[in-house]
């Protein structure tokens, strides 16, 4: 055997080994199940495919949790992990699922809306595969997902994604983005079916308020805010005023653009009676000019490069040495959601949704996020939903 042949075979072997290890890590990530515990308020759990049968058996199908109160009232829908690289959404949804009880009305929670995206990674962006939240009983481990569904589940992409039914032209990647495929259709690409199922749920369950939880870069103008269309703007403004006055944090209100189609805050309002709200909390991890993309940055939101840019006035949110820790983002989401429910109840008492045992901003800051998660090892197995 020549020296060149040995050299080539050695390189091939090293490449094979590295690829094998990486492949195993991707496989583990795609199949890792993070348990969701149905708390005392959860009355039933169904699959999303019940609202769109063509989702059945696909990797996009996901659990829908119902929390139903004894008294009549309205219905609020919480949608989390539309973008699975904005994890404060799922952490917030799980706080509601594990702790909340409903006195009046109903709360419906979809904690993993883009299930396929949560099992996908984002090539080029160097995310960690997982992150862990400290709790009283140990660390709870979550998958770090991607903004878009996995090409393993939805491929090929079109050269340009044409939004249904508006025909707006969007990036080819947006065919896998569940915040561009609303309101969807039952026989469209997979993510359109996910959004169609959610629209059917909203229409059939007569949802009054739909809240889609997100995160956005500190250098992106639409961050730290509530995005609301005309029909939701009064409540959004009241929430802004109330949280600022009562809880000491500021979220802005942005109108939902009429011509930018496919987004939840636009299409849910246009294609149902529900009032949509999209919540954005800052997530410094997603900003471009940051240091290494580590789990620590994801959880603390603390970065010296961003701090320097903040001092140059180049960020759209207040930012100092404290960063933007996960507990601030999750706490903010909890309070904004509770305040939306409160405002809905005040504006329309017959559609009131009264939730209890959900921490507010200051509670989450005091105890941190993991305090509100229960140990799946000691929970009733029938109440544990792997996801």
């Amino acid at each position: 055997m020549t020296r060149t042949a040995i050299y080539k075979m050695s390189l091939a072997a090293i490449f094979g080994l590295v690829s094998g290890i990486a492949g195993y890590q991707f496989y583990e990530h795609r199949h890792y199940q993070a348990p969701i515990i149905a708390g005392p308020g959860v009355t039933r759990v169904v699959k999303l495919h019940e609202y769109c049968p063509s989702l059945k058996g696909t990797p996009a199908d996901t659990d829908v949790f119902f929390l139903e109160g004894a008294g009549d009232g309205g219905t609020v829908l919480l949608v989390a992990n539309t973008h699975s690289n904005e994890p404060a959404a799922r952490l917030t949804a799980e706080i509601f699922l594990e702790n909340c009880t409903i006195q009046k009305g109903r709360l419906i929670v979809i904690p993993q809306f883009n299930n396929s995206g949560s099992r996908n990674t984002k090539p080029g962006d160097g995310y960690p595969l997982y992150f862990e939240i400290p709790t009283a009983w140990g660390k709870k481990k979550f998958r770090m997902g991607n903004r878009n569904a996995s090409p393993l589940d939805s491929w090929p992409d079109p050269d340009v994604y044409i939004h249904y039914p508006d025909r707006s032209l969007l990036s080819y990647l947006d065919v896998r983005n569940t915040n561009r495929t609303w309101p969807g259709r039952p026989d469209g690409p997979l993510m359109e079916r996910v959004c169609f199922a959610a629209m059917e749920l909203i229409r059939n369950e007569q949802v009054d308020v739909a809240i889609d939880i997100h995160g956005a870069e500190t250098m992106f103008p639409v961050t730290n805010c509530i995005v609301a269309p005309e029909k939701s703007s009064r409540i959004a403004t009241m929430v802004q005023l109330m949280t600022q006055a009562m809880e000491g944090f500021t979220v802005n209100v942005y109108p939902s653009p009429q011509n930018f189609r496919g987004l939840s805050h636009r299409e849910i309002g246009d294609y149902s009676n529900a009032m949509p709200f999209l919540l954005e909390a800052p997530i410094p991890f997603l900003d471009q000019p940051t240091g290494p993309k580590t789990e620590e940055l994801l959880l603390t939101g603390r970065d010296p490069l961003l701090l320097s840019l903040a001092r140059q006035g180049k960020l759209f949110v207040p930012y100092d040495e404290y960063g933007w820790p996960m507990k601030n983002r999750v706490g903010q989401h909890c309070s904004v959601i509770l305040e939306i429910m409160n405002q809905l109840s005040q504006a329309s008492p017959e559609r009131a949704v009264v939730a209890e045992n959900v921490p507010r901003y200051k509670d989450v800051l005091e105890h941190d996020v993991g305090y509100y998660y229960h140990n799946p090892a000691t929970a009733d197995p029938a109440r544990v939903y792997p996801n």
Partner: protein
């Protein structure tokens, strides 16, 4: 943090320089820098050592879609070239417009623009239609040096032209800005600058030949070749694209790679002579391997630079520059980034730059279009000088590389000016995006 990122950046630069000294190819130079950066990063646990392989592999998939388009589009174009279609078109243009020289130059510009516009790679234009077009330019009295300059500039513009602009696709994907609305912001400057290039470099007729002499010297066209054999494959491709746009909710999603494969099948079927598709595919992929490797390595490099914080530091440096100075620096930074990193420059500098300019109220799509005009210029700059070297090869220009570059200075300046003005006045040019949609 600055120190440890700075150390990683220095190690990457040193590895790149060392690989350059060893005369390794550009993709191996970038791979060396990526590996060195990743291993150094692992000392700081950014990334953890056991994750380094995963980051390298994951990153190399960043531009998989683009690579698939690249391969299938190039096979399509190669079939067209092998069947004699390109020679047929060039001969047709020269014969018909020999006495209307400027019109012939204008049509040749389109012949050079089409392959690159369809594939997003100026190299495809150079490799497939470069040689016959350079010959045709010579028959029309353009000197060899100026022909090479024309081919380089127009091939660069072809890569920037719609529908496939890889720099814009990379930046759009990285900034979550839709890759739509680029047709006019890219198409109009490309056509204007292409015409300007043809006029400035092709105006002077340095030798005069008779049509008979020219036709005798031109490569032969296979017997049976006809206009319909040229038009049908392109018709199928554009037909598939158009039908997908007109009936998007009826026609299943095919994707560009399959559309190119189907068009290639038609091109194969209507070729006047037999073509060994297996040999052609193998040779095409062989020819493309350096470019495909570059794309894969650029993705891996992007990921390693992100996870180590190097990309963030570079972004930070770019964003921290005062806006006026930034505009001036773009003239150098953008082509230089392409010269060193090929498409990596779009990912590493383009993405944060567009984020920043977008947040300052500039129109992101027009900004990307403006920057896209500057990136191809870097394909003539060392150390890669990818298109520049290819151009010299296919035009058989034997003088020094510097003398070749000097011949491009007028269109180079015009492109730079237009690109920068598009960035600065992007908000005022937003109507081009709206009209495209």
């Amino acid at each position: 943090m600055y120190l440890h990122i700075g150390v990683i950046l220095l190690v990457m630069a040193a590895a790149y320089t060392a690989a350059n000294r060893l005369k390794l190819s550009v993709e191996l130079r970038m791979l060396s820098a990526t590996l060195a950066g990743g291993i150094t990063g692992a000392f700081f646990h950014t990334p953890p050592l056991m994750q380094l392989g995963r980051h390298m592999i994951e990153g190399s998939f960043t531009y998989l879609d683009v690579m698939l388009v690249f391969v299938t589009a190039t096979i399509f174009i190669e079939i067209m070239a092998t069947s004699g279609s390109v020679n047929f078109v060039v001969r047709g243009i020269v014969t018909t417009f020999f006495r209307v020289r400027m019109l012939a130059l204008f049509l040749l510009m389109f012949v050079i623009l089409i392959p690159g516009a369809l594939t997003g790679a100026g190299s495809v234009s150079v490799l497939t239609v470069g040689a016959p077009c350079a010959l045709a330019l010579g028959y029309l009295g353009v000197s060899r040096g100026r022909s090479a300059a024309i081919l380089f500039i127009i091939a660069g513009l072809s890569a920037a032209a719609p529908p496939v602009n890889i720099w814009a696709m990379i930046v759009s994907a990285g900034t979550a800005i839709p890759y739509v609305g680029f047709e006019l912001p890219l198409g109009i400057p490309v056509l204007l600058l292409g015409t300007f290039t043809m006029l400035t470099l092709g105006w002077r007729q340095e030798q005069r030949l008779s049509l008979e002499q020219v036709l005798a010297e031109m490569p032969p066209v296979p017997e049976g070749m006809a206009w319909w054999r040229v038009a049908l494959p392109f018709g199928v491709f554009f037909g598939l694209v158009v039908i997908g746009r007109v009936l998007p909710f009826t026609i299943p999603i095919m994707g560009l790679p399959l559309q190119f494969v189907l068009s290639a099948a038609v091109a194969l079927a209507v070729s006047p002579g037999p073509i060994n598709i297996l040999t052609l595919s193998r040779d095409t992929v062989k020819k493309l391997t350096p470019l495909l490797a570059t794309m894969a390595v650029v993705g891996a490099m992007q990921q390693v630079m992100t996870v180590t914080g190097v990309k963030g530091l570079i972004s930070f440096a770019v964003i921290s520059v005062p806006l006026i100075m930034l505009y001036a620096l773009l003239v150098f930074i953008i082509p230089a980034s392409e010269g060193v990193l090929t498409y990596g420059g779009a990912a590493i500098i383009g993405i944060p730059l567009v984020w920043f300019l977008d947040s300052r109220g500039l129109h992101a799509t027009v900004v990307i279009a403006g920057l896209s005009l500057l990136w191809p210029l870097g394909d003539g700059l060392p150390p890669t000088a990818l298109i520049g070297r290819l151009t010299m090869m296919v035009t058989e220009y034997r003088e020094s590389y510097i003398s070749f570059l000097k011949k491009t200075w007028i269109p180079w300046l015009a492109i730079t000016l237009v690109g920068i003005l598009m960035v600065i006045f992007s908000a005022k040019l937003a109507f081009l995006v709206e009209w495209s949609m």
